[in-house]
Symmetry: C2
Subunit: 458 residues, 2 copies
């Protein structure tokens, strides 16, 4: 509600202009009228444009076309796409077909980015047949309540965007627009929300309609007012929740423009990568594979899982991992490893059975008594131990080997690697133009609050 | 009781000869008579000679001189040593003063190694004033019971000696002679003991007199028949208990002479150390310090503790440790480390407080925001992390630094290192004549049963 003069100044820059609002309203009304008049198809504007909570310059329009719930799913998709194409033809524009839970059309009409989404028109959010059916209910819930909090919602969205915690996709694991709005409503404004967030703890449950029917395991639970079973904050990771807590604290201590300024990502040249690796004295390796043909929300978690599985294999193989990261690109995806050393001693110890476990102990001994291990079997803490030779003493050989495919990789990642192979690069050779921002972020990694505080000191 | 022909053959070689027995009896009787006649001092023969359970060639005689319990401790020591010296003078011999819980005289008279030990003559083992007072009670307990089991006790002693598990000192952590005898009595013979041991499990409690007054944490508890509070097997480590289990199994499967053959320890030349290090591709380091002036049972555990503490420091410093060992020598003691790498990347991550812990989080951030860490602070699993530069990237520098003195070293070990400094050696330079057996044992480490089984295959 009440804003500081500083926040009013920010708002004056991020509030949509009357022209923008008018333009979006005109276009959306014309599309809705066209759908009803020519096709007898009811539709509605959803999302931040419908709720008046979009930030200046965000020219994204979401139009949901409502179909009866008894229509088979394939027909919904077919008719929805056909209707979308009719709109694009009628108004003149371009479109690409996309796919979330079911297909939709991403169109460009005039200068607007418009998603044309078919969905089922169900009676309540508990009867939805797919996630998109829920969106109209969200819009209907927010609209009557957001009046008086629109500026707060704008500040929250700009704040989370500038802080790198806006977006509920699997790469960001942050705050969705709807979540921002519900938090603003719950705390009655941006500043009360910031104040509260400085004291947030994982396990916090916010239930605006006080109707939840189950418990939630996620670090933050905001029970969907339109569905007591659903956590609107399910996508928010612990670390992004913590990043928001940090941003809130830093903002409360020293509120500056930097908290609302969206910066261009830093980018590293090949030379800068070379210098960073030299300074850190670590071993940098990437594996790159053809990106499997699925959406980021499918592939990004698989890349993360694969990175963790390979890191585990590296650790077990004598190559301690400092950090990993991954990036899904248009054509190729990359998993990056920073290691403390890229060669290791050939010794590896196998931990055998407890000596008191007679049968296993006999089997273990008779296996190793025939061969000539480096040492052992000997007894340590009641178990048999044997020291044998590692198959890999150089990490590059291991990363290039088919042994990688035995790690617990993501399904599509493994398939892509098994079918097409993968490239291994090290040091400055990891760099290419596409990875210049990714590598900069890796080396200059810091939490958003720390980054902003540092800017204040420069 | 019943022995196999093979065991009878072993016995024919290890049973003391009648001449030996006669010689020991004569000398001991003369010493006891001398003490009573010239000094009115009662005394007794204890240990395996008294019990007739000594192995051929073991010419150790233990004579305990019994003093009244009201004699002050200093007087006991003074009078005991004086009496010992009188014996040596009378019979003609040499002696050195030694120190266990109190002083005693280690004498050489004729060709025998004789310990002359003053102790208190108490009424029961529960009234003892020092550990040595207990010994006469053990002898009095065993003598009337061991008849019929002397051969079994001899086999058990020879078996444990050849297997490297005989001795209750801190270096061996094995079976004392008294423990061997109690086990033989409990299981009624060597072969029943071997059979039982193949199925032993840690936590086993043997209580011959069924009088224990407390529980025991050690892997094997054999309650002292002369003291319900005491575990005769307290010094036996889990690993040496397991080694005996393994020896018992291997002996049962294939009883050969090797199980009773005491071998000369293997010894490595400098060249052999060089080859072993090359084959293993590991980094070998020793630190050597002046041996602190205390008995092995004080210093050996301190060397072990120091090895573990330094290994922990090395691990935390980026140098993964494969194995450590230590050796207490006459002049110098050595702690040995085998590492997987001897250089490491300068990156080290400091794990900071949880982000939700506001005060600590603020302190952590403000500390690292001023400096320029390699990366961070950033957030991982809800905690702050910062990557900074390690003080040591080469293990030789760390092992030579005073930082070692901050590790949880044994008291006298730290004192020796702090006062006199220490030497660091690496690779083949770790070798010297004194360490030739120690290093061979380190590289050729295997459990005793495995070693004997391998010999059978050669």
């Amino acid at each position: 509600m009440t804003k500081t003069p500083f926040e009013e100044e920010i708002l004056s820059r991020i509030r949509p202009t009357p022209e923008e609002i008018e333009h979006l309203r005109t276009i959306s009304e014309r599309i809705i009228a066209y759908l009803m008049e020519y096709h007898r198809r009811p539709s509605m504007v959803v999302g931040s444009v419908a709720r008046g909570t979009f930030v200046r310059g965000d020219r994204d329009l979401d139009i949901f076309m409502l179909f009866p719930p008894d229509l088979p799913r394939e027909d919904l998709a077919k008719e929805g796409i056909a209707l979308g194409r009719a709109i694009v033809d009628h108004f003149g524009g371009t479109a690409v077909e996309k796919y979330a839970e079911h297909p939709y059309l991403n169109a460009r009409i005039y200068d607007l980015d418009i998603d044309l989404v078919p969905c089922y028109h169900v009676a309540s959010a508990r009867e939805i047949k797919s996630a998109v059916d829920r969106t109209p209910f969200h819009t209907r819930y927010i609209i009557p309540r957001i009046a008086g909090y629109v500026d707060d919602a704008l500040l929250m969205k700009q704040f989370t965007k500038a802080g790198g915690v806006y977006g509920s996709d699997h790469m960001t694991e942050g705050f969705s627009g709807y979540l921002c709005e519900l938090l603003i409503l719950h705390y009655r404004g941006f500043n009360p929300l910031i104040r509260a967030a400085t004291g947030w703890r994982p396990g916090l449950v916010i239930d605006p309609e006080n109707h939840r029917t189950r418990s939630f395991n996620e670090p933050l639970a905001v029970v969907d007012p339109t569905d007591p079973n659903r956590n609107v904050a399910a996508a928010l990771s612990l670390d992004q929740m913590c990043a928001f807590i940090e941003l809130a604290r830093a903002y409360q201590e020293d509120p500056t423009e930097a908290f609302f300024t969206i910066r261009r990502p830093v980018s590293f040249t090949r030379k800068q990568v070379e210098l960073a690796v030299a300074e850190r004295g670590s071993a940098l390796y990437t594996i790159s594979l053809p990106t499997p043909p699925y959406v980021p929300d499918t592939i990004v978690p698989q890349l993360r899982k694969s990175a963790a599985a390979i890191a585990d294999l590296l650790e077990r193989s004598g190559f301690p991992v400092n950090r990993t990261d991954c990036r899904m690109g248009e054509d190729r995806s990359v998993i990056l490893f920073e290691l403390l050393n890229d060669t290791t001693s050939p010794i590896v110890r196998h931990i055998g059975p407890p000596v008191i476990n007679g049968d296993n102990a006999r089997r273990f001994i008779s296996k190793y008594i025939e061969t000539s291990p480096l040492s052992g079997p000997f007894i340590e803490d009641g178990r048999y131990i044997v020291e044998v030779r590692r198959p890999y003493t150089e990490v590059a050989t291991l990363l290039s080997s088919r042994a990688l495919l035995d790690a617990a990789l993501g399904k599509h990642v493994r398939k892509s690697m098994a079918e097409h192979g993968w490239d291994v690069a090290s040091g400055a050779d990891c760099w290419n133009e596409d990875l210049s921002e990714f590598l900069a972020a890796f080396f200059e990694r810091s939490s958003p609050g720390v980054r902003i505080m540092r800017m204040g000191r420069e």
